[in-house]
Subunit: 444 residues, 2 copies
């Protein structure tokens, strides 16, 4: 039998395909051709069967599906740590909103997104669920850099530099959606900000359009107890009930945060196929509460992981977020077996892909899927000795140990070096934005 | 004025002295001579005033006091991630105890401690509060490598390879204490395992001897609700009340975990000068509970940070532990202002030094103290832009960005390279222990 030619053969000490669940394959190889995974097989067999144009040997590393950050506001990377340790409203009104009012525009969003892509790739993240203004500018960055994403089409009931009126938000949403229609890596989602900032009328319009466009609806829901109380007062309903009344509680819904949930609401999410995005570090930092992650998972709901934006995290580190999610879920559930390492990894890959309705294409290492892959080296003292590769990845590994990343078979990180990105330029622009932001007047 | 000669001048973009609290000094230098901090002053002045034998320029880095890990079982680094996601008793009885029974000895403890020193130094930790068997072997490693520690003198009411009888535990404790008496870096502490494994008689003996030796008493206390319930049944008292009855609740006591505390117990800790060691990641991973950190701090109790051992964490990462502590405290206290970044750093440095009764010597960058220092570079994309160096260190920084570390003015890490340590040999021994451990019979 003649070996079959292919673009790439990655040989790893351990391959963690995510599907089947919890499996680790020792000394396996992934063959890639035309951007897709062609095969997953033992290295010895792969060497007989394939004649790759490029071979990457990673005997001390684990290869896993590229991580999918299911909730982020990437331009806010330029506001990393600009205000910390403050109650939510003081943080928003005293810092975040005044800064946004002064800097928000396509240049800020593009520069922030590009810094975020550098950070995400250096940490094994290959896809994100973006949620910010100027999606046209952000999407152009992702398209240029070949980064995969669901681009949020923002809707909020007040004027911003992106749009002034409700109609303008919807017109621009349709425009951006059309601009990326059929793009191989950049697709869209509606991104109504939250039940407390979006009207019934807009939600109804979103429901209709999301059905028509066949795209998800990405929304902050039940982030805090205060949000639920306010909704009860204003609408006589909890936010999730209101969304249900408006026809939005279905498998299109990506409900982010969800720290306040009754048992009935947990059952509802499972029954209706809602995807919940858990952002443990943001929920902790803003003292928003504890999402009932294990209860949701046991009920059969899909739970994905996200970092939230860098103004409230303060990073886009999905490795760290997996660790935080796995650790926190145990204490919240009072059960050390809750959210084991393999489940945390699944929440950051295949379950996140499912939330984004991209699980047919990404989220696991299976033949036919896009070759979105990441490798973490385990030969540092921080990850030795090695007993359990999945536990090592989640509980001891660091994003700095991620040394190779591919999107659709293109190497985006080669032995820690970003390809096709001007990192000095990106950092110089980040410093320029910092100079502008620190000079802004802010309340004490 | 002629410049004064000194051993070392470290020039940093930012110096975070920890005392005074919350201060960041831009473009400052630390002058070091004979192992101690001589001066802390602006770089421009330092260049006029000092003629150093070595100058280290770190314009993109923050210099901070070496981190103090207030609770660890370092030889267990060889069991990193050997069993995960299991309830405490299944984890102990099914995995940890059978492994310890098979491997525990001076060689295992020395090899594990050496791997731990490599990991700690690479993450900015310069001192630890050790708690494990064979302190003679562990202490010899620390002494040889020049690592600072409080060496726990273990006491437990059952036979182990270290000692068979109560008297043997105490005889060996006295021996080890004497062996390190007057050592410049290695001092001792009594380390009774926990109230549920140590008798009243032993606690009374420890109280007497710790007074005589003038050393702290390092003990797991109120780790779980179960421990408190069992004590009520067996002793008719909560463990902390029992320790109080036995005269141990005083400023010698280093009480580790403390997830279960009444308001009266919080007030007692503050009034008696007890140091509480908070191990957030271990408490989460074993689902032990949430320590009331902010309530303790507000009451005026000293709270230090520790990682616990690598079998339940799974790392010795004090940067990550600061982040976990700061994030978790906010959600537990329902207050985003709880345990701010500067407080988290203090808990990992000066407050930890105070717990170990070493705050006269270490824990802050103040003239006269030991030059135990660490530097983190901020020029990676993960820590750009930079608004607040302390928040960046705690909320965005990673231990992999720590690039220089000194203990008593000796460089232990130089641009990420460990000095005076045989890292390949350490890793080879770790792999040998792994081979032994994976071959041990373990219950399914």
């Amino acid at each position: 039998m003649n070996p079959r030619s292919c673009d790439l053969l990655i040989e790893a000490g351990w391959v963690i395909p995510v599907e089947p669940h919890g499996v680790v394959l020792e000394n396996h190889a992934v063959a890639v051709d035309e951007g897709r995974i062609l095969d997953l097989l033992p290295i010895a067999e792969a060497r007989l069967r394939y004649a790759p144009r490029e071979r990457v040997e990673l005997p001390q590393s684990a290869l896993f599906p590229g991580l999918v950050n299911a909730h982020t506001h990437n331009p806010m990377t330029l506001m990393r740590g600009v205000a910390n340790d403050l109650p939510l409203m003081q943080w928003l009104k005293g810092h975040i909103w005044p800064i946004e009012a002064a800097v928000l525009g396509p240049r800020f969003c593009a520069d922030g997104a590009e810094l975020a892509v550098a950070e995400m790739l250096r940490g094994g993240t290959t896809c994100c669920n973006e949620n910010y203004f100027f999606p046209d500018a952000i999407g152009a960055v992702y398209a240029r850099l070949g980064f995969r994403c669901r681009l949020g089409l923002p809707v909020i009931e007040f004027p911003t530099p992106w749009a002034r009126t409700r109609d303008e938000y919807f017109d621009k949403a349709a425009e951006v959606h059309d601009a990326f229609l059929g793009h191989p890596r950049v697709s869209t989602a509606f991104a109504p900000h939250a039940p407390y900032t979006v009207s019934d009328a807009s939600f109804e319009r979103i429901r209709m359009l999301s059905d028509q466009f066949e795209i998800p609806v990405h929304c902050h829901v039940h982030e805090t107890a205060r949000e639920v109380e306010d909704s009860l007062r204003e609408h006589g309903q909890r936010p999730l009930s209101r969304l249900q009344r408006l026809g939005l509680v279905n498998r299109h819904l990506i409900a982010v945060h969800m720290t306040q949930l009754t048992e009935a609401e947990i059952a509802l999410c499972a029954a209706e196929g809602v995807s919940v995005v858990h952002c443990p570090e943001s929920n902790l930092k803003l003292a928003s509460g504890f999402a009932p992650v294990e209860a949701l998972r046991r009920a059969g709901a899909n739970v994905a992981l996200g970092t939230d934006g860098c103004a409230s995290n303060n990073d886009l580190d999905m490795i760290g977020e997996m660790r935080s999610a796995a650790l926190l879920a145990k204490a919240v559930a009072q059960d050390a077996a809750a959210v084991d390492a393999a489940s945390a990894l699944r929440m950051a890959t295949l379950d996140a892909a499912q939330a984004l309705d991209l699980d047919g294409e990404i989220g696991s290492i299976e033949p036919g899927k896009q070759a979105d892959l990441a490798a973490m080296r385990f030969d540092d003292p921080e990850t030795q000795p090695l007993y359990d590769p999945i536990a090592q990845l989640v509980y001891a590994g660091a994003r700095q140990q991620v040394h190779w990343v591919w999107i659709a078979g293109e190497a985006k990180l080669r032995e820690r070096e970003l390809t096709g990105m001007d990192l000095p330029g990106i950092l110089a622009r980040a410093r320029e934005w910092r100079e502008r932001i620190v000079r802004l007047p802010r309340p004490a």
